[in-house]
């Protein structure tokens, strides 16, 4: 296995095209354990962290642009980002220990394809897009379109993520991400739920609810969103959100949770995430 550290997107693109079986990496926090567990070694490990664009965080013209290989701790220590997207920061801040968060990236968390990836549901709830380096250029796609199943993505061979784009949250908007784990730290979500709401006075004018770890990919809950938009938050609306989230969940049984448990908790967490996002949005977003 060879190691390569390109400094431009073009150089990385060429390395991947010229070396079948090569693989990109950022923090290697998933890659190294996978190699150690016996998965075949890549022919070339392409380290993306020397490409400035993949390590930059910029906020201008009403939009955040976040390099796909940027350590998540850079984002969770950015007060302006945390204030605008507390839910995305909550998700990114739950990925392993400080040691891991100094290496883990939004791009890696997404492309690893885990249904339980903590940073993904809130990114989808905020309409995040990602710029993909493809064979002959760049294309921009919604984050929601990248993961197609556990460990599977829609990226073609040789494609990799350059940066995320997230539009500024409109006035009266905020988000939240909650997860359930047996331990408080260093664990993988049994269920995760993200919500983003926009309020006009007390009335909800926009809503997005996204579940993690309860299906092969993240799941949006349109029935919950429909119940929220145009409503004033009430116990009745929250019960509809919970029932809709439980109905949308399609989980597996495994050592971390049963189908029945995950289905019920998906409803409870969705309800709590919506209430938290509403509280934050009501406080000025």
């Amino acid at each position: 296995m060879k190691y390569a550290s390109p400094t431009t997107v073009d150089e990385a693109r060429s390395l991947l095209a010229d070396n079948p079986g090569s693989r990109v990496f950022a923090g290697a926090t998933d890659l190294v354990p996978q190699m150690r567990s016996g998965r075949p070694e890549p022919s070339v490990l392409v380290d993306l962290k020397r490409i400035d664009r993949l390590m930059a965080v910029n906020h201008h013209d009403g939009r955040w642009v976040i390099g796909a290989a940027t350590p998540t701790s850079t984002l969770t220590h950015n007060p302006e980002f945390v204030a605008m997207f507390p839910g995305i920061a909550e998700g990114a801040g739950l990925i392993g220990s400080d040691q891991i968060q100094n290496r883990s990236s939004l791009g890696g968390n997404l492309c690893n394809g885990s249904p339980a990836a903590d940073s993904v549901p809130a990114m989808i709830a905020s309409g995040a897009r990602v710029v993909v380096a493809s064979a002959d250029g760049e294309r921009t796609v919604p984050v929601a379109d990248i993961v197609t199943g556990p460990g599977q993505t829609s990226l073609a061979a040789g494609e990799f993520l350059i940066e995320f784009e997230i539009d500024d949250a409109p006035a009266g908007t905020s988000d939240a991400y909650l997860r359930v784990t047996p331990r408080t730290e260093m664990d993988i979500a049994v269920v995760g739920a993200a919500a983003r709401l926009t309020l006009d006075g007390d009335t909800i004018t926009d809503a997005c609810v996204v579940l993690g770890a309860v299906a092969p990919t993240t799941v949006r809950v349109p029935a919950a969103e429909a119940a929220l938009v145009g409503s004033v938050l009430s116990d009745e609306v929250l019960e509809t959100v919970a029932a809709s989230a439980s109905a949308a969940a399609n989980p597996i049984d495994d050592k971390r949770g049963t189908v029945q448990y995950r289905t019920q908790v998906a409803g409870v967490l969705a309800k709590r995430a919506v209430a938290l996002a509403a509280q934050r949005a009501g406080n000025g977003g």
């Binding site: 926090t29 354990p33 150690r36 490990l45 400080d98």
Partner: protein, 158 residues
């Protein structure tokens, strides 16, 4: 096997070494450079025994590919004391017997240093969260948390 020549700064000294491309920074530190303070516990980023500072950021050296160190600053446990003067954390760990077998201790000390550098006066809860990436199977953590609290007092008073 592909090998790469790496130039970096380790504990304040410019260092060059040759490493297999597939090697971790942990293996390079231990096997090429004789710096055996960082330990391999799990090899998968769960236990924190291999913690080092890479450009000032706490990382698991088992998850860093050795060639990544090119041009970077690395601090290992061997760089924590200044000559014969132990770092306050090393002193409070010793005085408080915050270790038994010692395998996890280098990682705890560097994680605690990173924590106190960022937050000089952490609460007990903040210390426990800050050290969540370091596992100790001997002490039950209370003595470690107390040692960090005592070092925090000393560092702020200094």
């Amino acid at each position: 096997m592909s090998r790469t020549h790496v130039s970096c700064n380790i504990n304040g000294e410019d260092v060059e070494f040759l490493t297999a491309d597939a090697s971790s920074l942990l293996d390079a530190l231990r096997n090429e450079l004789g710096l055996i303070g960082a330990k391999e516990g799990c090899g998968t980023g769960d236990c924190g025994s291999c913690s080092v500072l890479l450009d000032g950021r706490l990382v698991c050296s088992c998850l860093v590919m050795a060639p990544e160190a090119e041009g970077r600053d690395v601090v290992t446990i061997e760089g924590l004391a200044e000559g014969d003067h132990l770092h306050p954390l090393q002193k409070t760990f010793l005085e408080g017997a915050a270790l038994q077998c010692g395998i996890c201790t280098p990682g705890f000390l560097l994680a605690a240093k990173a924590l106190l550098d960022a937050n000089p006066n952490p609460t007990e809860t903040e210390i426990r969260y800050g050290l969540a990436g370091n596992l100790c199977r001997c002490t039950g953590y209370d003595k470690i948390v107390k040692a960090v609290q005592e070092a925090s007092v000393e560092l702020r008073g200094a």
